[in-house]
Symmetry: D2
Subunit: 320 residues, 4 copies
């Protein structure tokens, strides 16, 4: 193998640049040339590919987002598009491909490998932490700290004004951000499901804590399948229980920003490991489990599910 | 005068604690005892008043929110309530009152002074910067920097995904946060009015910048009289012009957090100046204009309007 | 057991307050009253002990330092002092003791347990990450991120002025902060030993990277046994090799600040686990290994050594 | 005039990139082409000059340092060098020059104008705030907030360990950073002079505050003409008075980092104003005084001195 490609796909995540840098430099150290593919699978289909050398990834480790750009590319889920992508890779001489992204990214790479024999390695990069085969995805730690900083600010107001705040965090169907932020932010409760009975239990609990003398509370709400869920919870609390609350939807601020140390180290480590895995044949996603670099078949990454860290929910309630 | 009171009222703002600290310690240095009134005018009506000594305000200058708590008190706009407040102040021996807050706070203090002869001095503390008689209110600089940090994060994603973001910032009817953030955040445009023609002009401008090769843009939107205005602008851009955008409503995170140096210095300076003004008779709001402490009749603070810094809007467009 | 005590000792570390909060509230949930002992073992000897209830630990999870205060107490290493400490604990009815701190703290607690049968549980809280029995100590993640932020700032200048910077970080004899910061900060090299040959190798490497076109570099230096080691390295680089560099000793800023999410979660988790361990007999330190709460005999915590994460040093050099 | 040049010189300062961006874009809006000169006067002498268009300054407003690079160029203070510089400017067709930097930068530009008739405009960019003709230099606000953040961290430890810290901040002979940080950080005292009697007065004051019950204190020390002054003060406090203290020299971290809103607005405003001033003949430095853009003869910028804001020193002592 003499030439490899690297792309970032799906939602951008802080630490992706550390991973790109590690792919490029670790590859260079092993005599491999790296090519950067812009805007994920969309850019691959458009042939937006250019050499990426050591100096091109200088001074990027601290930057949020991804220097390669990213996109969500629906077209890539049509077989014809993937055939074209494989052809383009052949034409430019890319013999191995590192894809950095989330579930959808791993899905696309799996199809490319299975259908066209492209040698791929996945690197889990998404703030949502919803990829099987790694304890943490690149970007998760930064997103949690960004959300936590926002909650610290909100607490100042909640405390000063003796109010209840519902704070909606990202994570789609994965509650990991919400649970981490719930423990770290000293939240009263974390709503991770969508059932209406949640509101009854929540209201009862808020009343109890009010009776214990607590005058301000923060409840963390996962966005679920659709942004704005916290507004529905607030309405339900008011209509059914007469409980007044304020809503804060943190939104896209959780996605950007300078990556934390952990995300840079994880990105660096997995980027380097991805090149090694490519040299050994590919077909895997590299992750970090229990502090060690590990590999899983790339199909597992999006077909299987990580268990929910319910011990964190217990901890939130225990310490509220 | 031997005993003065201090309260914070309305929305909390970072730097209020610096002002409280300065009131207490500057007063102590002049032989005056300070009493802290909790939860603004509401707490005054409930008699929640206790001594506040030098040590009570140690280690608070860096904290967001207000250690005294705050509230918006509708009842205080009834004459009977104010009569009761004046009576309570007399009973606890408070001969002068420092109120820290925004327009509504100054309004309340004015009525208390006019109707009951209470000696009052106002200190402008609100993130909105909408108080006449000072170039900057306490909390404004922190709110601007918080909003800016959020915009920097959003820019990472906007840039990585080549997208248009509408970011809604606080400020009610005052465009100062939006304009400061617009210049500092390198925004494409700042929407400070609510007219529908704004959207047409905006769409045309966004098209022009797209043609110049710009692939990501940030537009700052003031919340106006009702939160969520950015969603309406996004809909209008989409329906009338086919322009896709994402919305981020920054919300309450702008209100909290560790105050900036400016807000702590301003709070310290005006807190001390308020005590001096009280000793000289009161009836004023202390502010900072052109770098110097100044006083205006307290009624001016909420009856008059500051000019809009339109040169900043010009600058946004000039440098976009 | 009906009453337990909690103290923080040695250097303060961000996240200690999360641990104190968790001890108090988890204990309360199990019917145990908590007593706070001020200023570590020194305060214990002075009998500075008072009840610590649920409300006393509200709104502290986000604060740096320790609300209980801390100290390094030499006197406690005399047998007579420990006898007095045990007697004081008996007098105030403390039947179990949670100590939060580093190696020295665990040492003291071990002696108290062995000599006087005091039921103790240790919680590893120190920025240095030099305690056996846990993958991470409380405070380490925050210290790394603080040092990293400083390095990001220094890099702006290094890059603008095309200079070499030597940045000295904390960690005493433990290189973990230096290595984490080295990878995450994109450092050229991390000096963890003190041998003079380091300087020769370093100089050669810096020359090579200069020849590759790199115009600014950051080298991370552990403080070793005595602050200021980076100055000696700078002098050696200059005298022996004519290499000019600037020195930055980060110092105590690494110790304070709002704890990161990780440190708050770790503190919360271990604080709760400490109470459970106390109920089950004590004599252990609780830690987190491979993502799970684990216990080791408390004597192991200071008698044994964690392995150096040399893979991080390899990674620094690989990606430089 | 059709073509202008822009350079940054001396120490880098956050906000310089906002100024460069404003120069380039404001010039473009007036039909002027901009050329970027790299590494200050040194790069000018080496002919490191290239076109700088609108897109080249996209996405730089939030970055610390200067994208043009900077240097301190002794050679430029020789007449022959300046003659060569003037000649190079003529050759590349630069008819007007914007220089962004501190005193030394303004000095160099003055000589270039006087001796060779080069049309120059200065923009004050330095963290030290030691330039006459502007209330604030670009970079000052960021440096103050960075130093303040460091002090907040140190306070956590000072408070937890009941200690006295001496914190040395930048600013050379200008006490503005120290005074701003002193007020905002709630310091016990700010040492701005170098006289030995300072130490006596300081020791007496620290004893008084200890007797009032204060157990931790922070004293801010200006670096003076040579880094490390705080160590001398610490030694004097110990030797003469038996007062133990810890020293923190903040150093270069004060120079870098993402610029604050104020510094970006100031940079944007003055960058645009510099182009206008150039079009009107040059020979001035543009600054901001009392909130308004103002011009002074460029020689005044380095020949005259700004008054020391002694009211801030009074405020520190008043509120300690």
């Amino acid at each position: 193998m003499r030439r490899i490609g690297v792309l970032t796909s799906g939602g951008d995540a802080p630490g992706m640049n550390a991973a790109i840098r590690a792919v490029v430099r670790h590859a260079a150290g092993r005599g491999l040339a790296a090519m950067g593919i812009r805007r994920g699978y969309a850019g691959l289909l458009d042939g937006e590919i250019e050499p990426l050398g050591r100096a091109d990834v200088a001074n990027v480790i601290q930057r949020g987002g991804t220097i390669l750009g990213t996109s969500r590319c629906r077209e890539f889920f049509e077989p014809a598009a993937r055939a074209r992508a494989a052809e383009i890779l052949r034409q430019v001489g890319i013999e191995g491909l590192v894809v950095i992204g989330g579930e959808g990214t791993m899905h696309g790479a799996t199809l490319l490998a299975v259908e066209h024999g492209v040698r791929v390695v996945g690197v889990p990069g998404t703030i949502d932490n919803d990829v099987y085969g790694t304890d943490y995805t690149i970007g998760f730690d930064t997103a949690v700290n960004t959300a936590l900083e926002a909650i610290d600010r909100i607490r100042d107001t909640a405390h000063s004004q003796a109010r209840l705040f519902l704070v909606e965090v990202m994570g789609r169907t994965c509650p990991d951000i919400a649970l981490a932020v719930g423990v770290a932010g000293g939240a009263e409760e974390v709503l991770i499901g969508g059932a209406s009975e949640d509101v009854d239990a929540l209201a009862a609990e808020l009343r109890r804590s009010w009776e214990r003398g607590k005058r301000s509370s923060i409840v963390v709400v996962t966005e679920g399948t659709e942004q704005g869920r916290a507004f529905r919870v607030a309405r339900a609390l008011w209509e059914a229980r007469g409980l007044e609350s304020r809503v804060c939807v943190l939104g896209h601020i959780q996605r950007g920003g300078t990556p934390t140390a952990r995300d840079r180290i994880l990105g660096s480590r997995l980027g380097a490991a991805a090149v090694d895995a490519l040299l050994e044949g590919g077909g895997v996603m590299v992750g970090e489990t229990e502090g060690t670099v590990a590999r899983v078949p790339i199909a597992d990454a999006w077909e299987r599910r990580r268990p929910v860290p319910t011990h964190l929910l217990t901890l939130v309630r225990d310490l509220a």
